[in-house]
Every structure is written in structure tokens, then in C-alpha cells.
């Protein structure tokens, strides 16, 4: 405010300061730009971390060296059936042995069958000695191979893609080399289907009510404020609500007992139905807010023209407002759904099962979902589970990217009209 003093070097003040001001402007411009670039870098780093872990060298050793199984110097190829049976019995878990007995009693099996069993169930199960990231595998591949061969002469070292068709199509397993995400993908899809079926009609109805019918009064203002607030409630709170209401209070419904489903494996309401309903509550506020925006964007002249021709309010909405709002509504719905697919915390709280090897067969089945699988694998201490967690993340990201791309495509296609 020195310029207020008349005639006292107004010009020198500005010319003296101008380069400094411009420098500050340039520096800060750089800072703002840097911050923006940082955002991009982080996204790149995130993808890099995931991809880096999804591929790479794996060193595998047989759990048991076939030579150590030899009895009194006789190698297993030459052993008789009884010795082979005792080898199987000594080296697999009791449960596994009982399972093998159930399939076909040992007494009825031929010697060659038992020999095959020894190879398959005793010798072949693999121990993972170590896994390396993609970058390490490429830059230090020879060094790693040499080191592994020095420490484990029998180990096989090979380049593995943790994500492959077999990973997507096989069920969960405690062996990271065999584990897949099939059950998790099916669980996610079934859960989301229920979420959409429940949340879409209610969400659309609420959006229509608030935009087309609701008058400006206390009750409607309360509803509106409440919806905005619910959109900000942490997802884990919805999980607790789901646990208290769907899993416990409505257990006969969500476990399928009142429909006569009495499968022992689906006990106590922690089912796909509970999960779907919980996620439906979670996405409802977002769906409503998106729907309202889409309906608000419909020009009023359309409604007035319809009323002018004598249509009732519902006829106007159904025949004129909704058809022109539907692209926006669907785009918002897809975005909300893709958020629901990635939700983990509420499903952990309502108790998704973590170890399921069979496909979920309906709304009353126990289930796991992709994000839960990722969470479980990430929490394991063994490094190789981090690798399959990364592969599962890639599957999840591809799924979400497809959904988002559809939404963005729809938005750009309809907004240009």
C-alpha cells in the first residue's frame, strides 16, 4: 500500500519489485505443476509395484527328495505296494489320507496306482524357496539363478507369470502355485448382482421423488441432508449395520432357513445375500445423488410440453424425463457399482469366509470376494502370497477399468448429443 503516498517513487517501487514478483509467480507455478506431476507419478508407482510383483522368477524345490524315500536302499520305483502305502501314510496329513481312502480303499488299489499316489501326493508337492520381482528377475537373473543353484542343487528355477488363465479359472488353494480367484470372482459378481437388484430401484425411486415430487419442506430437506450425510459415513459402519441387522436379526431370511434351505455349510447368515444387501445400503446414497444430478439436467421445457398436452405427472416422468436422464443415471450407477466391487471393510465385518474352494451356488452360499482375497493374501507373511495378491489386484483393476471405461464412453457419447 506504499502507492498511496503520492509522488514518492511509485515507479521505482514497481520496477524494483516486478522481477521478484514474476520470479515468485514462476516458482509457484513450478510448484503447482510439480504437485500435479507427483499425482501422476504415484499412480505410475502403484501400477509398477503391482506389475513388478505379478511376474518374476520362482525357485521351486521338491518338498521331498525321492531318493530319501528309499527303504533299506531299495529305490521307490522297485518297492512293493505295502511299503508304498506306508510311505503315503507317513508323508501326507491324516485328513488327506482319509480322503484318499474314501475315494478308493488302499486295499483295492493296485501297486501302480499307489506308486502314482506317492509321486503325486508325496514327491510332487512343491516348496517355494523364493520369489523375485520382475525387475530383479530381468536385471539380476543370472546372479539369482547361480545363488539358488548353490544353495538348493535340486531346485527348479523358472520365470513365472502369477496371473494366467489358470489363475483366473481355478479355485482357492493353500498352495500359492495352484491358487486361483475363481471363487472370489464368482462371489464378487453374485454379491454385486444382489446389490444392483436392490439398490437401483430404490435409488432411482428416491432420486425421482426428491427431484420431481418433493416440495420444499422440513421433511424433504431432512431427507436430502440425511442422504448427503450418509454418503460420507465410513463403509465400515455399514458393515456393522449389516452384521447387526442382516447377519443376526434377519438370520432366518439371509441364511435361507425360511425358504427351506438347510445346508449346513451356509450357517449363520454370513451369506452372499447379507453381503449384497449391506453393499446396497452402502451405495444407495451415492446412487441417489448421481440420479438426482442426471434428472436435474433434463430441461424443464420438456416437462412443461408434456404437462401442456395433458399428461399426468407420472406420465411426464416415465415418458419424457426418464428417457433423457437414463444415460446419466446409468453412468452414475456403473461408477457406484465399481466402488462397491472394490469394497472390503464392510464384507470383512459381516464375515465373508476367507477360505472357500467350492463355487458359491446362490444367494445363501458362503462366499469370498476379490478384495477380501487380496486382503487375506496380503496379510500372509509368506512372500509368495504377496505375488498372488498382486495378480489378484491386476484382475480386480482390469474388471474396474472395464466398468469405468464403459461409464466414460457412455458419458462422452451421450453428452455430445
Amino acid at each position: 500500500m506504499r502507492s498511496e503516498a503520492p509522488g514518492t517513487g511509485l515507479t521505482p517501487y514497481f520496477s524494483g519489485n516486478l522481477p521478484g514478483r514474476h520470479r515468485a509467480a514462476r516458482i509457484w507455478r513450478g510448484v503447482f505443476q510439480l504437485a500435479t506431476i507427483l499425482g501422476m507419478v504415484v499412480l505410475a508407482l502403484l501400477l509398477y509395484t503391482v506389475i513388478n510383483k505379478s511376474f518374476g522368477l520362482v525357485a521351486i524345490d521338491n518338498k521331498i527328495n525321492p531318493e530319501t524315500l528309499a527303504v533299506n536302499g531299495v529305490p521307490i520305483e522297485a518297492l512293493d505296494k505295502d511299503s508304498l502305502v506306508s510311505i503315503v501314510q507317513n508323508n501326507v496329513s491324516q485328513g488327506k489320507f482319509r480322503q484318499l481312502e474314501r475315494e478308493k480303499p488302499m486295499a483295492e488299489r493296485s501297486r501302480d496306482e499307489v506308486y502314482g499316489m506317492v509321486i503325486e501326493d508325496v514327491v510332487q508337492p512343491k516348496d517355494i524357496i523364493g520369489t523375485w520381482t520382475l525387475v530383479d528377475s530381468i536385471t539380476r537373473g543370472a546372479e539369482i539363478t547361480a545363488q539358488v543353484q548353490r544353495e538348493h542343487p535340486n531346485a527348479v528355477i523358472k520365470f513365472t507369470s502369477w496371473i494366467d488363465p489358470q489363475f483366473v479359472s481355478s479355485p482357492q488353494s493353500s498352495d500359492p502355485l495352484k491358487a486361483g480367484v475363481r471363487t472370489a470372482i464368482l462371489g464378487s459378481l453374485l454379491t454385486i448382482a444382489i446389490t444392483i437388484l436392490v439398490a437401483f430401484p430404490i435409488g432411482l425411486g428416491a432420486a425421482i421423488y426428491l427431484e420431481e415430487y418433493a416440495r420444499e419442506n422440513t421433511l424433504n430437506r431432512l431427507i436430502q441432508t440425511n442422504i448427503t450425510n450418509l454418503a460420507g459415513v465410513p463403509s465400515i459402519i455399514y458393515g456393522m449395520l449389516g452384521l447387526a441387522i442382516f447377519v443376526r436379526a434377519l438370520e432366518p431370511l439371509t441364511s435361507g432357513a425360511i425358504f427351506g434351505v438347510t445346508d449346513a455349510t451356509t450357517a449363520n447368515g454370513r451369506t452372499i445375500l447379507s453381503a449384497g444387501l449391506t453393499l446396497a445400503l452402502l451405495v444407495l446414497p451415492v446412487l441417489i445423488i448421481n440420479g438426482q444430478e442426471a434428472i436435474r439436467a433434463v430441461p424443464n421445457s420438456l416437462r412443461q410440453a408434456s404437462y401442456g398436452l395433458g399428461a399426468t405427472q407420472w406420465q411426464t416422468i416415465w415418458h419424457h424425463v426418464l428417457p433423457s436422464a437414463i444415460p446419466g443415471i446409468l453412468t452414475g450407477t456403473i461408477l457406484a457399482i465399481s466402488r462397491a466391487i472394490g469394497e472390503t471393510a464392510p464384507l470383512v465385518v459381516i464375515g465373508a469366509s476367507t477360505y472357500i474352494t467350492f463355487d458359491p451356488n446362490g444367494p445363501f452360499a458362503k462366499f469370498t470376494t476379490l478384495p477380501i482375497q487380496i486382503y487375506q493374501w496380503t496379510s500372509r507373511p509368506q512372500g509368495e502370497f504377496r505375488n498372488i495378491a498382486a495378480a489378484a489386484i491386476l484382475v480386480l483393476l482390469v474388471l474396474l477399468l472395464t466398468l469405468n471405461a464403459t461409464a466414460i464412453f457412455m458419458r462422452s457419447r451421450y453428452s455430445s448429443k
Binding site: 514497481f14 515468485a24 509467480a25 507455478r29 510448484v31 503447482f32 505443476q33 504437485a35 500435479t36 499425482g39 504415484v42 499412480l43 508407482l45 502403484l46 509395484t49 503391482v50 435409488g203 425411486g205 425421482i208 421423488y209 431427507i223 440425511n226 442422504i227 448427503t228 450425510n229 450418509l230 460420507g232 459415513v233 465410513p234 465400515i236 459402519i237 455399514y238 456393522m240 449395520l241 447387526a244 441387522i245 443376526r248 445400503l281 444407495l284 399426468t312 405427472q313 407420472w314 472394490g342 469394497e343 472390503t344 471393510a345 470383512v348 465385518v349 464375515g351 478384495p371 487380496i374 486382503y375 496380503t378 496379510s379 498382486a390 489386484i393 483393476l397 474396474l400 469405468n404 466414460i408
Partner: protein, 315 residues
């Protein structure tokens, strides 16, 4: 309906027609259904407060628990009957503070760049990147924190300083998670400032920086404050990052490189295990949940108040 009527017959009919609003059963039914849909959200809120409140009440009625100890105790050890929520609140505050230290300055800078500096072409690239960042599931961020951020911190500060599970790593990644939210809210606030204000500033000879910082920012301050508060609320409620990367045990410490457990992290860990209903552990989760709900709900209400005031300025 009356397509084949002549003008005269319509005129004759209007003389006798009842012009009062007719009762449409279908319309009324639809209207009631839609009202039910709208009111459904109220049931959700009531359900949350009722269910959380009911179980929390059972918890506080328990002879092992007293209200004062709950809010002032520094140990959370359910098996020894010590229920002091401070370790959990403390960890939540530390991770939230770290996250906001990252997210707010960065988010604001990105928002200023996008709204004041970036050309439309650059914005067309940046917007989708931010949307992708916002769309990545939090469990992926958790993975990122554990497999990238933690090793990075450990290699910078030393392995004996930084624990494998630590609050700093979770907080930093949480900051990245909240960044897009703060950016988009701040950008909306900046974009809502009328152009006349900027032009006036340029007219007086202000540089772009001076215009942005001394004219546009103050004019958008309430929107920015709302973004700040919503960011905090989001950080407090964030669960998966802290569940994966921050630790698995309530620990009362102010050292960000140590592991601890936030309110959300504790709820997830305990409910993820085998939990029997009607045990004090189960009820205690709902007491934590209720506190969490009130904190975030309150913060959201405050931010809406601020935004409403902000709207009145320019409309």
C-alpha cells in the same frame, strides 16, 4: 383420449366436464412408493444409530466398563478388562494428521494448477488420472503401503527405526488416497469464483500467482475448508490401508514409525476373527463404531454448513 371429437362436441363437453383435479389411484400409489424410497435413507440412519447404540449400551452397562475409563484409559486390552479407547483414537489421529499433511497442500496445489493454470488439453489428461486414482479400491492402496511405502521408509530411516507395520506408511498412502477427493472439491470451489474477480485483479496488474493466492483463494475459502473437513472425515473412516499396513495391536505411542491400531483397524481385525455374539468384545466394537459414526457424521454436518454459507455469497 378424445381424438375423433369435433370442436363443438369438445366445447359441449367442457361445459359439463368436472375440472377439479381427478384422483388417479396409480399416480398415488407410485407417488407413495417413491416417497418410501426417499424416506428409506432415514431408516438407514435410524438403523445405524439404533443398532450401534443398542450394542454400545450393552457394553457400557457391563460392570467391567466405566464411561470415564473408556474415554481416558490408555490401555485397550479386552482380555484383562481394560477398555480405554485412547490408544485407538491416538493412532487414528496420527494417521489422519499424516494423511492430511500430504493430501491438503498437494491437493490444493493440484486444484490451483488445474483451475488457474492448466490449459484445457492438460486438464483433459489430468481429470481422468485423478478419477482413476479415486476409483482404485482401498485394499490396493493397503497393498501399496505394505509392499512399497514401508520398504521405502525402512531403507531411508533404517530398519531399527521403522517397524514393519507403522503409522507413517499407512498415513502417507492414506494421503494419496484422499488427494483426488480434496482436489476435486477444491477445484469445484475455485471454479465457482466469478471470473470478474480474476479480471479485476489482472486489471490492477496482479500476476497470475497473486490473483490465485490473494483473490481467488480467499473468495473460495469456505469451499476449501469444507474440502479439508471432508478429507479428515474420510481419513478417520478409512479402514483397509490401516488394517493392512499400520499394525495389529492397540499401542499407545506418538512415534509414527511404530505400529499401532486405529479405531477402524481394530474393528476389522476383531470382527474378521471368530467372534461370538453377546460377548463383551463384540459389544465393544459397536461402542467404537458409534463413536466413529458420531465423529464422521458431525464433521460432514459441519462441512455442509460451511458450504451452504459459501453458496449464499455468490447467488
Amino acid at each position: 383420449m378424445h381424438t375423433d371429437m369435433t370442436v363443438q362436441s369438445i366445447a359441449k363437453e367442457t361445459a359439463t366436464i368436472d375440472l377439479r383435479r381427478r384422483f388417479h389411484l396409480g399416480e398415488t400409489l407410485i407417488r407413495s412408493f417413491l416417497f418410501f424410497c426417499g424416506a428409506f435413507s432415514i431408516f438407514t440412519t435410524v438403523g445405524i444409530v439404533y443398532e450401534l447404540g443398542k450394542e454400545a449400551l450393552l457394553f457400557f452397562r457391563n460392570p467391567e466398563v466405566n464411561l470415564l475409563g473408556f474415554f481416558t484409559g490408555t490401555k485397550w486390552q479386552p482380555h484383562t478388562g481394560m477398555f480405554g479407547i485412547l490408544p485407538l483414537v491416538n493412532a487414528t489421529l496420527i494417521t489422519t494428521t499424516i494423511a492430511m499433511l500430504i493430501a491438503f497442500p498437494l491437493g490444493l496445489a493440484v486444484a490451483i494448477y488445474m483451475s488457474e493454470y492448466a490449459r484445457p488439453k492438460a486438464r483433459r489428461v489430468l481429470k481422468p488420472v485423478l478419477e482413476i486414482l479415486a476409483g482404485i479400491p482401498t485394499v490396493v492402496y493397503g497393498y501399496f503401503a505394505l509392499t512399497f511405502m514401508t520398504p521405502l521408509l525402512r531403507s531411508i530411516f533404517g530398519k531399527d527405526v521403522v517397524d514393519i507395520y507403522n503409522m507413517a506408511s499407512g498415513g502417507l498412502v492414506m494421503g494419496i488416497l484422499i488427494l483426488p477427493l480434496i482436489t476435486s472439491m477444491s477445484e469445484d470451489a475455485l471454479a465457482a469464483v466469478p471470473h470478474a474477480l480474476r479480471e479485476a485483479a489482472y486489471g490492477l496488474g496482479a500476476t497470475k500467482l497473486e490473483t490465485a493466492v490473494k483473490v481467488v483463494l480467499p473468495a473460495a475459502i469456505s469451499g476449501l475448508a469444507a474440502a479439508f473437513i471432508v478429507g479428515i472425515s474420510r481419513a478417520i473412516g478409512e479402514t483397509m490401508i490401516v488394517a493392512i499396513a499400520v499394525g495389529a495391536g492397540p499401542n499407545f505411542t506418538f512415534n509414527p514409525f511404530k505400529g499401532a491400531e486405529t479405531m477402524t483397524g481394530h474393528i476389522v481385525r476383531i470382527s474378521g476373527g471368530d467372534l461370538s455374539y453377546d460377548s463383551i468384545d463384540y459389544d465393544s466394537l459397536f461402542a467404537i463404531g458409534l463413536l466413529l459414526f458420531f465423529i464422521t457424521f458431525g464433521l460432514n454436518l459441519v462441512s455442509q454448513r460451511i458450504v451452504r454459507r459459501f453458496r449464499e455469497v455468490y447467488e
